[in-house]
Amino acid sequence: MYNFEFEKPSTVADAVSALGGEDAQALGGGQTLIPTLKQRLASPSTLVSLGGIPDMQGVCIEDDGSVAIGGATTHATVASEAAGSYPALAALAGQIGDPAVRNRGTVGGSLANNDPAACYPAGALGSGATIITNTRQIAADDFFEGLFSTALEEGEIITTVNFPVPQAASYQKFLQPASRFALVGVYLARFADGVRVAVTGASEDGVFRWSEAEEALNKEFRPDALTGLSINPANMIADLHGSKAYRAHLVSVMTKRAIEACM
């Protein structure tokens, strides 16, 4: 990697200030950024670690029953501490990578990176989460803008992610055999006011909501409510591990399994 300065502020304000420098880069758990640096594919002047800010750590239950997770909270912490309050989300966190990844990688880092095969974007979009930054609150529906692209401004930090807790939810992840990212992952959440279905791994545009499935399930929450519905393969990802048609097919299968898990 190239040389860089390293800062580890203890407050959000100091982090924002440090990120104001030219070519400064926020560092969450580094599970994407550090390999990128090692391959010399990025050359930030300063890395600003968000791992030393107590306000960005931990899982707590808000007065409205939603689960608020600090942006710098690791997957392992979410997997254990959210297990009682939001089990489907905790299960999602517990399936990311391996123990080393889960003990470094963070929810804020994953959402800010918006890898098209990452798990958290599906969890956030499927839950209708609110991404809270140092400057504003962004609804998940407005946050994800395509591959590795989000609504975040330069230097904006995800401080907290607020997850409404559904009546039932399930994340069904079909593994890409090599990376064990999601070849297709479906996060289904059933709220009193409707069902949300978010799909990761499949689309060339990144995580998306399968609105036809949601409409069908809002009428009738049963696996065969999907009968006759299918995803258009045109916008699906095709690579070594699966064709467009295969991914489109898997979206249906994983959605059906998520419904069954919520029954």
Partner: protein
């Protein structure tokens, strides 16, 4: 009764203590005072003509010691190929030069163009970015069949085409083969691909070169399976150095799987650069470099045809294979698709007429060479897939069809140049049928179906030729090296023993198993015997470890040397006991006079050898013997494997529910180590069958260039294995009666897995004949929905 020591005992692997506690000494652990670091600037273009390389800015960068390009090696030899294959018309193979650094052209992504030696690796990488390259991009030659056509873009401008050789084995009369097929009652044909693999040993390759100007001595520390072979090739063919001035050390090596047999440019470079820079030079491969510079494995495209008569006897077999050699000839690459592949096409069957045709192709890819099994998995995969397909087409039981055609009389001369000394293929199949509970399969299938899954059973038989090999025979076949091995048994004064062996252990467990043999022969505790390997300054000239040969070849040398030691020790004992040498018996570490209670202990005899006060005058002092062993034949391990899979019909996901192996390895020294070798081999075979796929795009870019896209088998991809090696037909021509077990699992498992998947799909009403490996979920789903 299981033994608790010596031959046949499952002694715990003594080397594992240091491996598992982080106390190993790997090449990257070796740092030489004052060393500099080399970074190789590698081509990101698959095929191109080098117009210019400007290194002037790089040379001026901080910390840079020297920048090398192909020009610096114009007076130096290239990387040699150790096996000359003669084509079917009697012409030698086309053998293009393979320079240490690219000269004139780059021929694959990863081809080294320049080498930057600097005080630190980061400085070397910084300088690499300052090298100005002008490379004219040429069309990448990727498809083997297209590469063979007249007018195809030439990878090596001085060759007449991209075909290294067009080789044939077995029946030379095409008309006779045609006649067999024309008269057949049934012909089964299969087109298949044996997928390209990357070995991916846990430890990437490393080289440290050192030169002592005071004495003119070189030392190369390197990740090798055969240090003497590296020394010979590098000294005689590449750098022109006197062998006695070069020491090659291969210390602890973290996995080889074949890809660390070969002499690589980086090793020769570090040795050369150590003198040129007057500093030790170290190179540690990154994982990314390993993907594009370690020799790959397999990559055959084959058509196989099996002819059967009306009674389902195999009467003819014909194969046509395109074998990918990559851009250059790696050390033993030419032998893999030929003498290690064609010779195995008889398999376990008495097929009377066999013709094997192989076109070996140059393409703009990383060189391809031996990988665990090396040619034998490719042969077994073709044969056992076509036999299974024939059984399905004929509606007969695949086991019965195999049994009907088994070779049962030994020795057996195959139509493809081998003589099997011994074997019992029904014996291993009998063991398999019990161990795998094949009788219970129908019930297990019903249970899977009740859970919405398809269940399949795949059977496979294999034979392999190990213990390579009689030097006179391989010499006739084109090998440019002998393939004996050597051992020195050095008995110390107090009775402990150091055994210097030419074999190299990079995970096999030699440090445990070899002492079991020596200790057993003498009757002393295993802990008194230790193996020394991996250093040309310490060991006799042996040929190293590959092809499941260590115990069969080097172990035989060790037995012979130990016999010489015992013979001499008996002379000393006879003198001490004032008896005739002919009356001396050695048992449990005691020499005794037959029929008397007179005896002398091993340690007293060994001490006498080195403190020869009371000593036979006609006997030399000391107790150290060396033996070289050149085998009389290959060894022929064989076996039968059964794989059971479940297929999720909704996703195409295959899970392996059971895997049983029944192998005949002849006699066994350490059953636990043999189990482990079989487990590892099956794991690698399952990796090939289900997961691993080294893929390039049409421009020669490596798509599976990291573990993000190259799927290695993980613990949860493989089942608990059932391993049975109780069916034993000892090798008839080596002293231990051993055959070799290192590659069997990787040879026998891929066809079993694929046969099982196809059985599952057919049981579910899908008439699927073939899916290429890796049988990934997407491919299974596509096959089910095509």
């Amino acid at each position: 009764m299981p033994k608790d020591s010596g031959i046949g005992a499952s002694s715990k692997r003594r080397e594992d203590v240091r491996f598992l506690t982080g106390a190993g000494n790997y090449t990257d652990d070796i740092n030489v005072h004052g060393q500099a670091y080399v970074h190789f600037l590698r081509s990101d273009i698959a095929h191109g003509r080098i117009k210019s390389i400007d290194t002037s800015a790089a040379e001026a960068m901080p910390g840079v010691v020297k920048v090398f390009t192909g020009k610096d090696f114009e007076g130096v030899g290239g990387m040699p190929c150790g096996w000359e294959v003669t084509d079917k018309h009697g012409a030698p193979m086309q053998e293009p030069p393979h320079p240490i650094l690219a000269q004139g052209k780059v021929r694959h992504v990863g081809d080294p163009i320049a080498a930057i030696v600097a005080d630190s690796l980061e400085q070397a990488r910084d300088a690499a970015e300052a090298i100005d390259l002008d490379i004219e991009v040429l069309p990448a030659v990727m498809n083997m069949k297209a590469a063979a056509l007249d007018g195809a873009t030439l990878i090596h401008d001085d060759l007449k085409n991209n075909i290294c050789y067009d080789w044939q084995l077995g029946e030379t009369d095409d008309a006779k083969v045609d006649e067999v097929f024309a008269n057949a009652a049934h012909v089964t044909t299969l087109d298949l691909v044996n997928n390209r693999l990357v070995a991916n040993p846990m430890e990437p390759r490393v080289a440290v070169g050192e030169y002592k100007p005071g004495t003119g001595d070189y030392t190369l520390f390197t990740t090798s399976q055969n240090p003497h072979v590296i020394r010979l090739l590098m000294c005689a063919f590449v750098l022109g150095l006197p062998e006695h001035k070069v020491r090659v050390v291969a210390p602890d090596v973290g996995g080889g799987f074949g890809t660390k047999i070969f002499h690589y440019a980086e090793e020769a470079f570090c040795t050369f650069a150590a003198k040129a820079c007057n500093r030790p030079v170290k190179w540690t491969s990154s994982r990314s470099e390993a993907f594009m510079s370690d020799a790959h494995g397999r990559d055959h495209v084959s058509k196989i045809e099996l002819a059967l008569d009306a009674d389902n006897n195999f009467i003819g077999l014909r194969t046509n294979t395109y074998a990918n050699l990559g851009a250059y000839l790696s050390t033993f690459s030419s032998s893999v698709p030929t003498w290690l592949h064609g010779t195995l096409m008889a398999g376990n069957y008495k097929t009377p007429v066999i013709q094997v045709n192989v076109k070996a192709m140059f393409t703009n890819t990383v060189p391809v060479d031996a990988y665990r099994g090396a040619g034998r998995p490719e042969a077994t995969y073709q044969l056992e897939r076509v036999v299974d397909k024939a059984a399905r087409e004929l509606g007969v039981d695949p086991i019965a069809l195999r049994r009907q055609n088994f070779i049962t009389q030994f020795p057996y001369d195959t139509p493809v140049a081998l003589t099997y000394d011994t074997g019992d293929y029904n014996g291993t199949m009998d063991k398999l049928e019990v161990a795998a509970d094949l009788a219970g399969f129908a019930a297990r299938r019903a249970k899977s179906e009740a859970n919405g899954k398809l269940r399949g059973l795949g059977i496979n038989c294999y034979i392999e030729a190990c213990g390579i090999a009689p030097s006179n025979i391989v010499g006739m076949l084109g090998a440019r090296a002998g393939l004996y091995d050597a051992a020195t048994v050095r008995v110390n004064a107090t009775g402990s023993i150091s055994v210097m062996v030419g074999a190299h252990s990079h995970g096999q467990g030699h440090e445990t198993a070899f002492p079991q043999v020596v200790a057993d022969m003498i009757g002393i505790d295993e802990s008194m015997v230790e193996i020394v390997h991996g250093d040309t300054s310490k060991i006799p000239f042996g040929m190293g470890t590959y092809g499941s040969r260590s115990l069969a070849v080097c172990g035989s040398a060790m037995v012979k040397a130990t016999e010489k030691v015992i013979e001499k020790a008996k002379k000393i004992a006879a003198h001490l006991l004032e008896a005739s040498e002919a009356d001396i018996e050695l048992k449990d570490g005691e020499f005794s006079v037959a029929g008397t209670d007179k005896s002398v202990a091993w340690g007293d005899v060994t001490l006498t050898a080195y403190v020869p006060h009371n000593y036979p005058l006609e006997v030399e002092p000391g107790l150290e013997e060396t033996a070289f062993y050149d085998p009389a034949n290959f060894t022929y391990p064989a076996g039968a494997y059964a794989c059971e899979v479940e297929v999720d019909p909704e996703t195409g996901q295959v899970t392996i529910e059971a895997f049983n192996a029944a192998d005949d390895f002849g006699n066994i020294v350490n059953p636990m180590i043999v189990d482990g070798q079989v487990h590892g081999g099956i794991g690698q075979g399952i990796g090939q069958a289900l997961l691993e796929n080294c893929a390039y795009d049409e421009n020669g870019q490596l798509l599976s260039a990291s573990f993000m896209d190259y799927a290695m088998p993980r613990a949860d991809d493989v089942p608990f294995y059932g391993v049975d090696h109780s069916s034993q037909t000892p090798c008839t021509h080596n002293p231990l009666g051993v055959k070799g077990c290192g590659e069997a699992g990787a040879i026998g498992s891929p066809p079993a897995v694929v046969n099982a998947v196809l059985d599952a799909l057919n049981s579910g009403g899908k008439a699927v004949d073939h899916i290429d490996m890796p049988v990934s979920p997407s491919r299974v789903w596509a096959a089910m929905n095509s």
